[in-house]
């Protein structure tokens, strides 16, 4: 047995999970898909005294489409969300990002909320949440609150989730414009590995080809996934000419702060950030134009 000793509770409901977190929160971790938490415990990077298992709570696994947003339960499996055609039609970036997440075996077990709560700065789903401005519904025995992605991610592997809170649901904005295009890409050593840099973009056009909505961002380029709302806002009203996109790439490149490691120097990451941002902006533009 590789993990240090811990106590285990399988919560039958979200209320029970919250009660357990209220009691043990400071020394507990919520166990969802376990695809990041279990390896960290095997390497004893983490030694929680309690694991609160939320895998059997059916209410945390729902996927639903509302008028303005799509809801995914925090414990919805990545494989289930990836296969959901209705969701892919409304929030295409989620499926586009999941294509890059791990492998079949890990997506069968890994959850949407788990990826967000783990908050790896190079992870795909946190980047999509940041770019789209997803909202996280957090529940505790005292009540609920909603946090926007920008406030949710506080640093590498760090979120604003309090020790007594459990992520319940993620609300992904649905763009209503008919002519919307989105794109996700990344560079990793092998497909399924951590991204050295990842980029995501979504653009909307009106009938005349003028941009009515723009969002883009980068993962692996800073301590948290980054979105660039002010830079994206400058694209709105343009016809998304190459020059406008290149200006956005230049502006975004000034805001990133990538690190160096064995796999990539910060200079290489800066290079990738520019190339991949340009690529997703163009691909999103082509898709919006064609739709």
């Amino acid at each position: 047995m590789k993990a240090a000793q811990f106590e285990y509770a399988r919560a039958a409901s979200l209320a029970e999970a919250c009660t357990l977190l209220a009691r043990h929160g400071d020394s507990a971790k919520v166990l969802a898909g376990g695809q990041s938490l279990v390896p960290m415990m095997a390497m004893r990077l983490l030694r929680p005294a309690w694991l609160i298992d939320v895998n059997e709570i059916a209410a945390l696994k729902s996927v639903a489409i509302e008028k303005d947003f799509a809801r995914t339960g925090a414990c919805a499996r990545q494989c289930v969300v990836e296969r959901d055609d209705a969701l892919a039609a409304r929030v295409p970036l989620i499926r586009q990002a999941l294509h890059w997440v791990g492998h079949v075996q890990t997506r069968n077990r890994g959850t949407i909320g788990g990826s967000l709560a783990h908050a790896d700065p190079s992870a795909e789903l946190p980047l999509v949440a940041q770019v789209l401005g997803a909202k996280m519904l957090l529940r505790s025995s005292k009540g609920a609150r909603t946090l926007e992605a920008e406030k949710f991610f506080t640093g590498p592997m760090s979120t604003a989730v309090r020790p007594d809170e459990c992520l319940e649901e993620i609300q992904w904005p649905v763009w209503k414009e008919k002519r919307t295009g989105s794109a996700f890409t990344e560079i990793a050593i092998r497909h399924g590995d951590f991204a050295m840099v990842a980029a995501a973009a979504q653009l909307a056009l009106d009938a005349s080809g003028r941009c009515t909505g723009a969002a883009f961002g980068l993962g692996g380029a800073s301590g948290t996934p980054l979105a660039f709302p002010e830079i994206a806002a400058r694209l709105v009203g343009t016809k998304l000419e190459d020059k406008a996109l290149d200006d956005a790439v230049d502006a975004a490149a000034k805001e990133i702060d990538p690190g160096s490691d064995l796999h990539a120097t910060k200079e290489y990451r800066r290079h990738l950030a520019r190339v991949l941002t340009a690529r997703v902006l163009r691909e999103a533009r082509e898709k919006a134009t064609a739709s």
């Binding site: 047995m1 590789k2 993990a3 240090a4 000793q5 811990f6 106590e7 285990y8 399988r10 166990l31 376990g34 695809q35 279990v38 390896p39 095997a42 390497m43 694991l51 298992d53 895998n55 059997e56 494989c79 791990g102 492998h103 079949v104 075996q105 890990t106 069968n108 077990r109 497909h191 399924g192």
Partner: protein, 161 residues
Amino acid sequence: MSETLHAISVEVNGKRCEASVPVRLSLVDWLREELRLTGTHVGCEHGICGACSVMLDGEPVRSCLMYAVQANGHRITTVEGLAQPDGSMSALQDAFCETHGLQCGYCTPGMLIASQALLDSNPHPTEEQIRDAIGGNLCRCTGYQQIVEAVQLAAQRMEKK
């Protein structure tokens, strides 16, 4: 400090298994050390290599990334469960032998589980789909080519039946 034990009831390869397990015992260690189903291999023990792949309710997962206690109430299929009822090899297993889809054999149980899960849901996979399905399983001997050929051969034969 004594370990807390939890009672579990799991269906493994069609048989109901009742046990009492320490909560930090991984599913793969329970399968191998308690049930003596040593066909499933333990490689990296942190979710990289895929050697420990088993099916959980019909879908491939890594059994080093689950605690045995979490399998309670679920259905597990290990590589031992892929053989035919009389104990002879499945079409996929035969194909691995014929195409030399293994050398040292360490990754093979994981490869078989991943490939069988693919063929269960997609009987006519393209080469790209095969490579995607085994993308989470490391093999240091074959260069993967013969494994891809094995899955293609098995798919052809299963179609004829």
